[in-house]
């Protein structure tokens, strides 16, 4: 009797688990989606300088883009109606959460269901493949007439060029404002140390942070460096120490950064810091969010942060818990070749392509590009007020889409569907990164001070342009992530002490044998063919 009931229960549970397990098989998604922001574009701006008169013919423009917005603006929202009216179009946007965009877009492409505007998150293997298969319209002949596009630098155009043809309009992202190393300046002062300028000094500082009670609270509760699994963010104190194609080997071939001597220095320092206890013992299992939490709760003294689009609440929390906290960016170390500077970001984030099917309709092509141009035309931060008609219109109108607080425009919570700019989310293309005035966008004073000092410092810092952002190597796309993972795993073991640093050459050998040689050869071939090489800016 008892056994029967138990048996029944077990069978019941396994049936349920089976069904729930099967049903969750629906979720076949990977994270990260292709780039491209949401909303289609259309219409020409009427008041700004770059817009012609409203054309007579009403055309339909559809778009599919990935988005981080939550919630996604309503395709029948007021913002869309405003765009329809201004540009004389029938706009049909489709926003897909980035989480699933990478799964949905290929399906939609394969089914032949393509809208007029296709967004992608980054230029990747799919972009190149689809461009070569003729899905996207080449834009070379059209872009010359648009003012805003003239701000786009050559290295960014290179990124969206395949076989000499430009297949997408890139969207602005500052190249200088990626994650930079930051340090608790107050801890340096408390211990009488100066800002480190090379790895030896950095090691001493990190160990002192761990052992010498820099926060002066009498407790042994501090760490030198915050580090997360997969060696995030590591210690890239300059382009020559970062994972970028910088150095050449004896034959003159460019090599990936994570195999270079510069990177080896970084790993060796991390190993020493780990051995000295300046890095948490279980860093290899720590998520980035937790490593960041360590820094912002005052436990770690060195970490990485960017001066652009950041969470003010984190900085505020740090200052409230540690009133004496001061932050500073560690300037890049001087390299053996005499250069000094950080690695630049690709300079764009998200791209917008046009459906090749409209190649016989230059009117439609131009109208779409005009819309892109309108949204992309730079409005200086001090003019982003209701007095500027374009800005006011793009943000949905004062009081409806946004409010002004302290001379800064703040979007009204939940009013995304009222704002035309939310649908395509095309950022202004700034002539220079500093023109975006990141500090102006921040209200919280501690954060603001940090951002401004960082921007000032980076204004005069040199940046290295990774040449591989500007070419397309199929071999690289196919193999790079797997190879890199193997290298990262190897280096993780080196840091923890499971493998000796002297195994470095062995690691490089394995990389070459597993297909790395082909990757390096192909990348160099592409670089030579296009005449592109690493540049300092």
């Amino acid at each position: 009797m008892k056994l029967n009931k138990l048996g029944m229960l077990v069978v019941a549970v396994s049936l349920i688990v089976g069904v729930i397990g099967c049903s969750s098989g629906n979720k076949g998604s990977q994270s990260s989606s292709p780039a491209v922001t949401n909303s289609p574009s259309s219409a020409q701006p009427s008041e700004s300088a770059s817009t012609p008169a409203v054309p007579a013919k009403k055309i339909t423009i559809s778009a599919i883009t990935g988005t981080w917005s939550s919630p996604i603006p309503d395709p029948n929202g007021e913002g869309v109606k405003m765009m329809n009216e201004k540009f004389n179009i029938d706009f049909k946007p489709q926003g897909v959460p980035y989480d699933e965009y990478e799964s949905k877009l290929p399906v939609v492409m394969a089914a032949g269901d393509l809208p007029d505007i296709i967004g992608m998150e980054n230029v990747d293997a799919n972009f190149v493949k689809w461009a070569r298969q003729g899905a996207f319209l080449p834009l070379n002949d059209y872009i010359g007439q648009y003012e805003a596009f003239k701000n786009i630098p050559q290295n960014v155009w290179d990124a969206v060029t395949v076989d000499g043809k430009i297949y997408a309009i890139p969207e602005y992202f500052p190249s200088k404002y990626g994650k930079k190393p930051i340090i608790r300046k107050d801890w340096l002062d408390n211990l009488g140390l100066s800002m480190p300028t090379n790895f030896e000094e950095l090691k001493k500082v990190a160990i002192a942070f761990t052992k010498d009670d820099p926060d002066r609270n009498g407790k042994d509760d501090t760490l030198g460096l915050g580090l997360a699994k997969q060696i995030v963010y590591g210690l890239p104190m300059g382009a020559g120490y970062d994972n970028t194609w910088y150095y050449k080997d004896a034959q003159g071939q460019m090599l990936p950064g994570n195999l270079s001597e510069g990177f080896k220095q970084q790993i060796s320092v991390l190993h020493d810091l780990y051995a000295a206890g300046a890095i948490s013992k279980d860093w290899a299992l720590t998520k980035t969010a937790d490593a960041r939490k360590d820094f912002f709760t005052g436990k770690a003294g060195i970490f990485f942060e960017q001066p652009y689009d950041i969470s003010q609440s984190r900085f505020k929390g740090l200052k409230e818990a540690n009133p004496g906290a001061e932050l500073a960016v560690i300037p890049p170390f001087v390299q053996e070749d005499g250069q000094q500077g950080f690695l630049s970001l690709p300079g764009y984030y998200q791209v917008l392509s046009l459906n090749a099917g409209m190649k016989n309709d230059p009117d439609k092509i131009n109208r779409i590009l005009e819309i892109f141009n309108y949204f992309m035309t730079f409005i200086p931060p001090d003019q982003r007020t209701p007095d500027n008609p374009d800005f006011d219109w793009q943000r949905g109108g004062i009081g409806k889409g946004y409010e002004m607080e302290d001379n800064t425009a703040i979007d009204i919570e939940g009013a995304a569907s009222m704002q035309p700019y939310m649908y395509l989310s095309i950022p202004y293309w700034a002539p220079a990164d500093e023109d975006t005035d990141p500090a102006g966008a921040v209200q919280e004073p501690f954060t603001k001070a940090f951002v401004q000092s960082t921007v000032d410092m980076l204004k005069t810092t040199k940046f290295y342009l990774d040449p591989t952002n500007r070419i397309h190597s199929d071999v690289y796309y196919a193999k790079a992530s797997e190879l890199n993972k193997a290298v990262t795993d190897y280096q993780t073991r080196m840091i923890v002490g499971n493998s000796p640093l002297s195994d470095w050459d062995k690691m490089v050998d394995e990389y070459m044998k597993k297909g790395g040689k082909e990757v390096i050869d192909d990348v160099n071939k592409q670089l030579q063919a296009s005449g592109i090489s690493g540049e300092w800016k």
């Binding site: 029944m8 069978v11 019941a12 049936l15 349920i16 069904v19 729930i20 099967c22 049903s23 969750s24 629906n26 979720k27 076949g28 998604s29 994270s31 990260s32 981080w68 917005s69 939550s70 919630p71 996604i72 309503d74 395709p75 489709q94 959460p97 989480d99 699933e100 799964s103 949905k104 399906v107 394969a110 089914a111 269901d113 998150e121 980054n122 992202f173 404002y177 990626g178 994650k179 997360a228 699994k229 997969q230 995030v232 998520k287 980035t288 969010a289 960041r292 939490k293 709760t297 960017q306 652009y308 689009d309 950041i310 969470s311 929390g317 970001l345 690709p346 764009y348 984030y349 939940g414």
Partner: protein, 294 residues
Amino acid sequence: MQHRTVPERLGEAINLAVLILAALVMLFPFYYIVIVSFSSYQDYMESDLLLWPKHWVLDSYSFIFASKEFIRSIGVTVFITVVGALFSLIMTSSMGFALTRRAWGQSFFMFLVLFTFIFSAGLIPSYLIVKETGLIDTYWALIIPVAINPFNLIVMRQFFMGIPEELNESAVIDGANEMQIFLRIIIPLSKPALAAFGLFYAVVQWNTYFSAILYLNTPSKWTVQVILRQIVILNDATNTLASAARDAARSAHMPPPETIGMAAILLATVPILIVYPFLQKHFAKGVMLGSVKG
């Protein structure tokens, strides 16, 4: 109560202990989610492991419920769960019954069902079919393509075959046609099976996530799992190899804290848990489906 010897009692006690331990281990993650969802962000950040909320707050829940999209998605999901489960039950039971009848094509259709049970065509052919039938961007795209689960169909058929043939024959003698046999005899006797499969289908419908994103283009039509996933993913900073730009774009939307993710998980699973006890009495019988005759 049977009289047990000491060793038997000891054995039983050990069994009990092991099972209780296993149960606690399985319950703990759930318990943790409940605790964190009712804690404030400050408390969560400050402690390494929260076992009991320092302050019971409803912040996370009010954040989620404040979202219109969430409320709407609950409505959508309830709709497809109820309608979808009913529709699936009707389709599955009628097809299961049809396949118990010795008629032309019985083995042919059984073969087709088994074939789809083992092989699946994949994403693109499914999308093409839904597109060609005009179901894209409609709720029926979430109901019709998944209406019949081959496993459920086969088990249901077995169950029907377990109903004594004499009942059917006596009905035929009384002049009943197939439809009447189905409605008046088979269905009333199959309540356990229907309850069990109704619950299975309901769970599947409730969890609809990827299909919703794939087939529904309008955000207002999305199910609750999609909306909840968006809330959680925006907060998920584990994607360490993401580019700086991506990181920035994400954090620009002020990710809600982990506590909200926990509340989201709870909201996604609790409704089904609530429904379960009501069906349980039918369900316990339904477990023996197809295995015992009479």
